[in-house]
Symmetry: C2
Subunit: 328 residues, 2 copies
């Protein structure tokens, strides 16, 4: 059985990645690594997947190397990251550690163990930075103008990956992933945050606090994301960068309306200046033409369905039926 | 008296920077910080300069912050770096620590102490990476294509600096410095290495081992470099990047001939494949037009004079007369 190591295993993307493998009947030995324990039922994925968890701080290079040496992965899905722009402004140096440095430690460990291993290094649409609305959608060949410490950390990770591909022959495939949303997402993120506030309304109509709801973002269902990640991990071209996005821009205010419709309430947004991020781009919309042309991937789940599943999941304070352990 | 903190204090650039200040009668309180003790006569710079040394590992963020808090610099000349491309290929992660991470720790410390401080962050011509010869000379607006871990670390440092200037209002001025040479330079570098091998010849003619001497580089006298650094530190525009270069390309084989002429011997180069760096650019030549236009800086010391001073310094196993403590 081929072996996949997944870093950032306790996050919601890893959870959906496991469900994707399981649902498709793709048999792998999986080692999940994270600094914190996952809230997952791992045995439920057997016998398709043989999943094991290892607690790991990737800043501890020796511990990371021991794990890599013990498991000898054929694939690494490197999801581990501190992907918060706000955090990066508070702690730029720690942001670098928890993005660039952990990636470098991973690459060092894979090289030291001389593994012929394919790695998916996940980056961010934040790498593009300030782009004039007239230049949208964002395509991979555009120059990068990162405007936050987080974005710079991601650009550094990407540039370093390319250097490793060219200099060491490593098989690192790169993404710039746009906003992804879906069931189980932490409520500190914008869309699940909206849903929680709307579900908490005590009447059939009400007001929720928001940031700037005039901004336009490109939202993709996390289940479409993990399908793209699997394709890239197994078939993407090392050294190449792929946008992972829906290709469609949606205003946050529209998303709020859609959620209100699903919940069956009437909602007014009220801007709380504390939620407004200064320097936020007016519009971020990507083009997924490259991954479509190379690997035939296109998004399949419409935004309405994603939001419906998220609402259902949060209403039950758990997953929608059948989703907690795909294939069960 | 205004205060300058100099990191990487035990290197040869810091030594020349002190001599420049002293020679120009520019009075400062100087705190030199380095992981290793400098081989310098510090009291000889008094009373113009009040120089003190502090042993410091900049990866120790707490220690760095204590030093910054104690000294409260008005200026930081940030020279500390592990500026070896070869080292970066061996230890990419350590290369990031000793370039990007120490810079981030410095920036964190300056912000934490809320110092209104001007910082010169030294970068490298390596940041440009692979550029077709037809596109020379290198100008600051060109896209960056770093091709070594060292180059990526420098690009990350530069991008992060710009983010700090825009986001925090920090006053960081940036350079991309090309090859600089001069007295006291470590013999592991290419030009002093040539000089040592030529001085070691036992006859009036002989052979020395070299790498690829067909490559063209842009050499600048370190005394021109430190004059540029002082100008930028005091008058450069925060967030702006300045090439520090001669603007002239010279083939390594020509440099060897010039040294042989100065020493008065006849030399043939013999390529030792171990000295050839794979992936090295054929030609690296910069344009210094930006710093000339903004600050009136131009190089003043011709290559022949630099080489003569280096030969004299290495013949005496010490400095040329009058140069060990300028103004004495």
């Amino acid at each position: 059985m081929k072996k996949i190591m997944i870093t950032g295993f306790s996050g919601f993307v890893a959870r959906h990645f496991l469900e994707y493998l399981h649902g498709e009947g793709l048999s792998y030995k999986v080692l999940g690594a994270d600094i914190k324990e996952p809230e997952l039922d791992l045995p439920c994925h057997g016998p398709v997947l043989d999943v094991r968890f290892e607690k790991l701080d990737m800043l501890d290079a020796d511990a990371l190397r021991r794990v890599v040496r013990g498991f000898r992965p054929d694939y690494v899905l490197h999801l581990a990251a501190f992907s918060s722009v706000a955090y990066s402004w508070k702690y730029p140096s720690a942001c670098f550690d928890n993005n660039t440095k952990i990636f470098l430690n991973l690459a060092d460990a894979l090289r030291a163990e001389q593994l012929d291993c394919r790695v998916l290094s996940v980056g961010s649409s934040e790498e593009y930075g300030d782009v004039a609305p007239g230049k949208l959608p964002l395509v991979e060949g555009m120059p990068l103008s990162p405007v936050s410490p987080y974005a710079v950390a991601r650009v550094a990770q990407e540039m370093m990956s390319k250097v490793f591909v060219n200099g060491f022959g490593m098989k690192i495939i790169l993404t710039r992933s746009f906003n992804h949303i879906g069931p189980y997402q932490d409520e500190r993120f914008v869309i699940p945050g909206f849903i929680r506030r709307i579900l908490n309304l005590s009447a059939m109509e009400g007001e929720i606090e928001t940031g700037n709801t005039g901004i336009v973002r490109d939202f993709l269902d996390v289940r479409d994301v993990v399908r793209a990640y699997y394709l890239l991990l197994t078939e993407g071209t090392p050294g190449e960068v792929y946008n992972i996005c829906s290709g469609k821009g949606v205003r946050l205010s529209e998303v709020i309306e859609k959620i209100a419709d699903i919940v069956g309430v009437s909602v007014t947004g009220k801007v709380n200046p504390a939620f407004v991020r200064p320097g936020d781009n007016q519009a971020v919309v990507g083009s997924a033409a490259k991954i479509e042309a190379e690997l035939g991937w296109t998004p399949q789940i419409p935004l309405e369905e994603t939001l419906k599943d998220m609402v259902e999941c949060m209403r039950q304070d758990g997953p929608p039926a059948g989703a907690s352990c795909a294939g069960k």
